[in-house]
């Protein structure tokens, strides 16, 4: 509810802004007072001239009286009575003139002090202010937000909070009807100052426009949130200006932010809340209090394509990101081509569910640097990344931190519930890409295990109790590679090599997959 001018800045939404007070009336009044002072001075000069004339008249009359007295014969002063009457009249005129002069002086003094006061109104302050959204290229005049509807306390330029309205799609364009403009109290006339001061807490209490809130929950699919409203006191007698019935919380609050709405928000964020129609019941989140987040569409930041041959590949994260199988073509030494089948791990079509999307993006990010993979069958794998689904452009060297578990030969597994969640509706099927040399591909017999989606429990151990003693739901659990080139062959007892717990969202129960790798014989 104010007006500002961008001075500089913009990086990450932080600007230096000049807060533009309404000085039009102040400047106009100063101009008026200057003219008035000139007029009063002219009036005063004229009055003083008139007074000088009256004094001269009085002196002349007095001289005439003196002359008449000097020339008078005994017992009679001719014409003196008329002179005395004239002297009294002129003296009275001088007194009246003195009053008139004093009155003009008083008006001049009044105007001069008023002019001095107006001229002492502080210049527009400059300060740093966050734009409520991640807009970095604002220039010129912008709409500002002052919370809670006041800019200064008393006559001191102590700004409580000033922001720039969200800049996306021109939303920071100044709108006088919506934004108003700050008018320094020192520049107001008495009734203005009184009226504005009198209604200030009422406006703050009953006609809220902006407040700061804290998000307590978010529905990314509905672009709404629950939030608590930051309590504010008015500078007027420290009156509480938040409605008691609101209890400082609201649910189902819409989020309108750039072109991504709820995407960049997190629980606990301090956000700028606008009340539509200045109605407590119509809050809307329109930005951040500070450090606005970018509307970065991370989907997908880069495509990771995991190729393997003869194995099934599992991502050991919360979601199984593998898809396939892929049938690809490889080039042979003789110049011909052959086919291979493998699996790809890829994020394809943008899931509509924001929570899933956010999770998967994070998962991919982890995968890029700290992939935890399990390759069934002891086969090899490659990780490629590409700039689009059909175009794996570069093979990624296995970075430090990759946690690869390959299993050569038999192993056994225990599965409590079952790992796996199909995302056919969210994620596109795999693609093919490139024609790698066949020699670079694993040569093992291609084996495609079933996608694990059913609940089953498999355990075959020579020392079951020992195994369960070791593996309990509370422990860091599982790695999930089930491996057997001979699925019908009973598993044998092997030493446990690693356990990672999986606790996926949306699963009815925790999922544990425990694998033991075959010991060297």
């Amino acid at each position: 509810m104010g007006k500002g001018r961008i001075v500089s800045g913009g990086t990450n939404g932080l600007y230096t802004v000049e807060l533009l007070h309404n000085r039009d009336r102040i400047d106009a009044e100063i101009e008026f007072l200057a003219a008035q002072l000139s007029e009063l001075q002219a009036e005063l000069d004229a009055l003083n001239t008139e007074r000088d004339d009256l004094v001269a008249q009085r002196n002349a009359i007095a001289t005439d009286i003196d002359t008449a007295i000097a020339n008078a014969e005994e017992g009679e002063i001719p014409g003196v009575e008329a002179l005395l009457a004239e002297l009294a009249q002129v003296s009275a005129q001088i007194q009246s003139q003195d009053v008139r002069i004093a009155l003009v002086k008083g008006r001049r003094l009044e105007s001069r002090k008023r002019k001095e006061m107006l001229e002492s109104v502080p210049a527009n302050p400059q300060q740093q202010a966050w734009c409520a959204d991640f807009t970095e290229d604002l220039t010129g005049e912008v709409a500002t937000v002052e919370v809670p509807a006041e800019g200064v306390v008393g006559q001191f330029l102590t700004w409580r909070r000033a922001q720039i309205r969200p800049g996306h799609s021109g939303r920071a364009t100044y709108n006088a009807a919506r934004d108003g403009q700050m008018f320094h109290r020192q520049g107001q006339v008495g009734y203005q100052a009184y009226f504005n001061a009198a209604i200030l807490p009422g406006v703050q209490r009953w006609k809220p426009q902006y407040r700061i809130g804290v998000i307590t929950s978010i529905s990314y699919s509905a672009d709404t949130c629950s939030l608590t409203i930051q309590g504010e006191d008015s500078s007027a007698q420290s009156l509480i200006i938040d409605p008691p019935d609101l209890q400082y919380s609201k649910t189902g609050v819409p989020i309108e932010y750039m072109d991504c709405n709820s995407d960049p928000f997190e629980i606990g964020d301090r956000v700028l809340v606008e009340f539509q129609g200045r109605d407590w019941d119509q809050p809307k989140v329109i930005g951040f209090e500070s450090n606005p987040r970018e509307c970065k569409d991370d989907w997908p930041p880069v495509y990771y394509i995991l190729r393997s041959r003869g194995e099934e590949i599992y991502n050991n994260g919360q979601y199984d990101l593998r898809f396939g199988p892929e049938t690809g073509t490889c080039s042979t030494d003789g110049g011909g081509t052959s086919t291979y089948t493998g699996w790809q791990m890829i994020l394809g079509t943008k899931p509509t569910d924001r929570a899933l999307r956010r999770y998967l993006v994070a998962e991919l990010s982890t995968f890029r640097t700290h992939a935890s993979l399990s390759v069934v069958g002891g086969g090899e794998y490659e990780v490629w990344e590409g700039d689009q689904l059909q175009n794996p452009t570069a093979k990624v060297a296995t970075p430090v931190g990759y946690d690869i578990n390959t299993f050569g030969g038999d192993s056994f597994s225990i599965k409590k519930n079952i790992y796996g969640r199909t995302m056919a509706g969210d994620i596109a099927p795999i693609i093919t890409g490139g024609t790698p040399p066949c020699d670079d591909l694993p040569t093992d017999e291609i084996w495609t295990p079933p996608f694990l989606t059913a609940t089953e429990t498999i355990f075959d151990s020579q020392d079951e109790q020992e195994f369960f003693d070791f593996f309990s739901p509370g422990m860091p659990a599982t790695i999930m590679v089930e491996n057997s080139d001979e699925p019908d062959e009973p598993a044998r007892v092997y030493a446990l090599t690693e356990a990672v717990r999986i606790a996926p969202i949306g699963f009815a129960d925790e999922t544990y997959l425990v694998y033991r790798q075959q010991e060297e014989e």
Binding site: V99, A102, L103, K105, G106, R107, L109, E110, R112, K113, R114, E116, M117, V153, G154, Q155, F156, D233, Q237, S238, L239, I240
Partner: protein, 205 residues
């Protein structure tokens, strides 16, 4: 004590912490003494001048602008005096004149002459002088019992008490009103020819 620094007090803009305090007001006998208010206009290079006033009011508070205003009746004769000192300050004293002619004064308000309003009626010309000032913090620890409490209101903004004007109470001090203890955040003085009182208030933290 006219035109000199009053004992035990200083201007509201110049209270010094740790000053010695003697409550001489306790010795005032209303039956044999007379309380008065005086406006003094001062400027650096000119002599201080005392001017009769018909009313004055002020708000003194810590951390925010304090304000004082006085009304000068029959102001025509004082125009030149005030104009000459219009870049100076004005001070409102509260004084007591004892039966033996001695006087004792306390400065209640002091502010620069920032605004002058010249009001003219059919037969009257009055002048209002007013100004804002920032007052320093007062010495902590002084506790004053408010006298002749007229009203006490309690709201979310804190307690506010209307009572007789106290000679020494300042923002930052503690006031006892009825059964309440107030941490004084502001004082409003209202004085005219028929009444005088002050409102003492606290601010909710």
């Amino acid at each position: 004590m006219l035109n000199s620094a009053p004992l035990n007090t200083g201007p509201i803009n110049a209270l010094e912490s740790g000053e010695a305090f003697v409550d001489w007001s306790a010795s005032i006998d209303p039956a044999t003494s007379q309380t008065y208010y005086a406006l003094e206009v001062i400027a650096d290079s000119l002599s201080a001048v005392r001017i009769p006033i018909s009313s004055w009011q002020a708000t003194i508070q810590a951390g925010r602008a304090s304000y004082a205003q006085a009304v000068i009746p029959a102001a025509v004769q004082w125009v030149d005096t005030i104009e000459d000192r219009s870049d100076g300050e004005f001070i409102v004293y509260r004084g007591v004149r004892f039966a033996n002619g001695e006087t004792q004064e306390s400065t209640l308000a002091r502010a620069p002459i920032q605004q002058i309003n010249f009001d003219r009626g059919p037969i009257n010309v009055t002048m209002r002088v007013s100004g804002y000032a920032t007052i320093p913090g007062s010495a902590q620890g002084l506790v004053r019992t408010l006298r002749n409490v007229r009203s006490q209101s309690v709201s979310s903004a804190g307690t506010r008490v209307r009572c007789d004007i106290d000679w020494f109470l300042r923002p930052g001090h503690t006031a006892i009103a009825l059964d309440s203890e107030i941490s004084v955040a502001y004082i409003n003085y209202y004085v005219n020819d028929s009444d005088e009182y002050m409102d003492v208030g606290e601010r909710a933290s």
